[in-house]
């Protein structure tokens, strides 16, 4: 689950051209997260391209064991994100798919090299900011108690440390600890419906631990985790503010009060 090697010297590139993979979840539900990602990257001097033919990283099919389908999706991604620019993604799990899962998926395939090339260019957003661009502190202000839910797919990558470094440097932000932080939230893709009982139990436990720390907001690098946690919390009648780390960084720049900023999933309920 390694991030791109430092041979991709992003900092040296004068225009800092990057490609944005918004992720299918942000495409469908969380446009503000993708927006915040663009704004954060532009603040750092990047020129952000959004290849319009993009769809998905292939992870759902890969994890479900439908590898032929996953390869189809990933080949499309290789085509869409052709080039040399870093591909920045507001999702640790999608980044891990491209840099790790894809290697397993294509190990015996003729186009393994092209897939690997994309993998070396794929960065989760905060990892890109800290290790790619060398930025280790963040300006502005974000007042509030923040519980950072480190997504499982960021294990073994630079993301956890990157988020910690950036958020702890934000003025007014109080980083709170909570119990059993290493335990998964229970989303797991199709697991969330195929193993609904266990998924719910895991999520409820995670909510118990998070809320016991009395945070003002829960922050993650992955909307999949937040979709699940926030969805459970709403159904259980427990108030929970959740933001993607991109939104926190964007809001800090705007120096808006944390409690007044938009909640990532503020929405009318779907379905009856």
């Amino acid at each position: 689950m390694s991030a791109p090697s430092s041979s991709v010297s992003v900092a040296a590139s004068p225009a800092r051209r990057v490609q944005l993979m918004s992720t299918c979840l942000c495409d469908a539900f969380f446009d503000d997260v993708a927006r915040a990602t663009v704004e954060v990257l532009e603040h750092l001097g990047c020129t952000v391209e959004f290849p319009g033919r993009q769809t998905c990283c292939g992870q759902p099919a890969f994890n479900a064991g439908d590898w032929p389908a996953a390869r189809t999706v990933l080949r499309h991604a290789v085509d869409v994100f052709a080039g040399e620019a870093p591909v920045v993604i507001p999702s640790a799990s999608c980044a891990a798919m491209l840099s790790h899962g894809a290697q397993i998926l294509f190990e015996n395939e003729p186009d393994a090299v092209a897939v690997k090339q994309l993998g070396t260019r794929a960065w989760e957003l905060t990892d890109f900011i800290v290790r790619g661009l060398g930025v280790t502190s963040w300006p502005g202000r974000f007042a509030g108690r923040v519980a950072f839910h480190r997504s499982c797919h960021s294990r073994g990558s630079g993301t956890g440390d990157a988020v910690s470094a950036l958020l702890r440097s934000v003025s007014g932000l109080e980083f709170v600890d909570f119990d059993e932080a290493e335990q998964c939230c229970g989303f797991g893709g199709t697991f969330s419906v195929a193993f609904a009982s266990i998924s719910t139990a895991m999520g409820t436990l995670k909510l118990d631990n998070l809320l016991a720390a009395k945070p003002d907001v829960i922050v993650s690098t992955d909307m999949s985790c937040l979709l699940h946690l926030r969805g459970l919390a709403e159904r259980q009648g427990r108030p929970l503010r959740a933001l993607h780390v991109a939104q926190v960084l964007r809001d800090a720049l705007a120096s808006s009060d944390a409690l007044a900023s938009s909640d990532a999933l503020a929405s009318s309920k779907v379905g009856r």
């Binding site: 769809t55 998964c184 779907v270």
Partner: protein, 462 residues
């Protein structure tokens, strides 16, 4: 709503049982983590080193196994090989029958459960007793262990006390000290009357042929002190190259399994007792078992054979904590079992093809594995194999349609737009997965296309 079998089992479990398993596992994980970080600056370095040593051994297994066999034979140990469970059971029975032996005591070894040895021996008139306290209680109850290291993680003292009373071990008393004392007294008689002591082995050193047994209760020592014959049944994957590597493995194993620096008893056995010693076996047999291991060795799943059976992955696994060991319908549960059990099932792979699905691929297991087995990678490979071999999808939604959509940008964008309909649809008529999701969770409003039009409106290329 349809559920995968492991999820069904978890849902139907009593709260009491779920809590016992969850808290017991959590405690085990915390002890492991505390002692490892207290003792070592770089735990990951040790895990990776141990993993490499095991991997190397597996990749040269023929020469290491041959060396171990040579060493053992040179010391008068009788070495046997068993292709499968049936052959191993028959081997054990043959040894017993050659000695006219009718009573057997066994120390903790998962392999004996794997090959279903005790029921086989009992059918052939051999009286058998488990001597590890947890396994003894499981035997009395005709139950199955639910954890590799802590077999009765799922039981409480009241259940145990009732069993003891039913089986004539005294009137109801659920004090742990009394339970333990009763087992001590009962089993002591059995050790002293037994003809054969049966063990497994945690490690076999190829260099010296030594079998290493790691225990805490003294039952293993008794099985090797009182009876006159020792039989060890050992999976071929238990080999390590040399005695020297044992210092690394022993340090990692006990800490990973129970948070101890060393287990109470570490036995290094490479032969029967010397002729003039009054105690101990006069004859020692080692049966090396295949039972599907060579098949695994030839696949991309071979890393699972590194497993030391420490149970650390079970302790940290959030799915295991909710489901408990019995949910896995196999001798080996938890993360390691989700890989190993379907593989060792051989031709019956499809019966256990749902096990690899019982995971969010969170990777907590890899972080605690003393031999660095990449379990999530193996799980996802097994999911691929399951699909290719036609495993039923069960309660898992098919993603074929999604994948098709994801390779057709125009259709994708259209779906993003049309998805808004979901915001107004009654749940009952929504697509399956969305409906299933909302069994327990709310769904946010669909906003497909909103980001793309924002980006376009800024005048950037979209």
């Amino acid at each position: 709503m349809k559920r995968e079998p492991i999820d069904q089992f978890a849902a139907e479990q009593s709260d009491e049982r779920r809590t016992s398993v969850r808290l017991g596992s959590k405690a085990g994980h915390e002890k492991r983590t505390q002692v490892l970080h207290e003792d070592y600056a770089d735990v990951d370095l040790l895990r990776k080193l141990a993993g490499q040593i095991k991997q190397h051994t597996l990749e040269h297994l023929d020469s290491y196994l041959e060396k171990a066999e040579e060493e053992l034979r040179a010391r008068g140990v009788k070495v046997h090989f068993a292709l499968d469970a049936e052959a191993a059971c028959q081997s054990v029975l043959d040894i017993l029958q050659a000695r006219g032996a009718k009573r057997l005591v066994k120390t903790k070894t998962m392999v004996s459960e794997e090959i279903e040895l005790l029921p086989f021996l009992e059918r052939h008139g051999v009286e058998c007793f488990e001597t590890d306290l947890g396994e003894f209680i499981v035997q009395l109850d005709a139950d199955r262990p639910s954890h590799i290291v802590k077999p009765i993680l799922h039981k409480n003292r009241r259940e145990i006390a009732r069993t003891f009373e039913q089986k004539g071990l005294g009137t109801y008393d659920d004090t742990p000290e009394v339970i333990t004392r009763r087992a001590r007294e009962f089993l002591r008689r059995k050790y002293l009357e037994a003809d054969v002591g049966l063990s497994g082995a945690n490690f076999v050193s190829a260099e010296s042929g030594r079998l290493v047994l790691v225990t805490n209760e003294g039952n293993s020592r008794f099985c090797l002190a009182a009876p006159r014959c020792h039989i060890a049944v050992v999976g071929i994957e238990k080999l390590v190259p040399d005695d020297r590597s044992l210092s690394l493995f022993l340090n990692l194993l006990a800490r990973s399994a129970t948070g101890q620096r060393l287990s109470v008893y570490t036995e290094f056995i490479c032969g029967a007792r010397s002729p003039d010693a009054p105690d101990g076996p006069e004859e020692m047999h080692v049966i090396f078992l295949d039972n599907g291991r060579t098949e695994v060795l030839g696949t991309e799943y071979r890393e699972i054979l590194r497993c030391l059976r420490c149970g650390a992955c079970l302790n940290v696994c959030p799915v295991y904590r909710q489901a408990s060991g019995h949910a896995y319908r196999s001798v080996y549960p938890g993360p390691v079992g989700a890989v190993l059990s379907p593989l060792l099932a051989g031709k019956r792979f499809l019966e256990l093809a749902d096990l690899p699905k019982a995971s969010t691929l969170c990777g907590a297991c890899v972080e605690v594995c003393p031999v660095d087995i990449p379990i999530p990678d193996l799980l996802v490979r097994l999911r691929n194999r399951g699909k290719q071999e036609g495993a039923p999808s069960g309660a898992t939604p098919s993603l074929g349609g999604f994948a098709k959509l994801a390779s057709m940008p125009t259709a994708w964008k259209a779906a993003l737009g049309m998805g808004k309909l979901v915001n107004h649809m009654p749940r009952a008529v929504q697509p399956g997965p969305l409906r299933a999701w909302q069994g327990e969770r709310d769904l946010p409003a669909w906003r497909g296309g909103a980001f793309r039009s924002w980006f376009r409106k800024r005048g950037k290329k979209a």
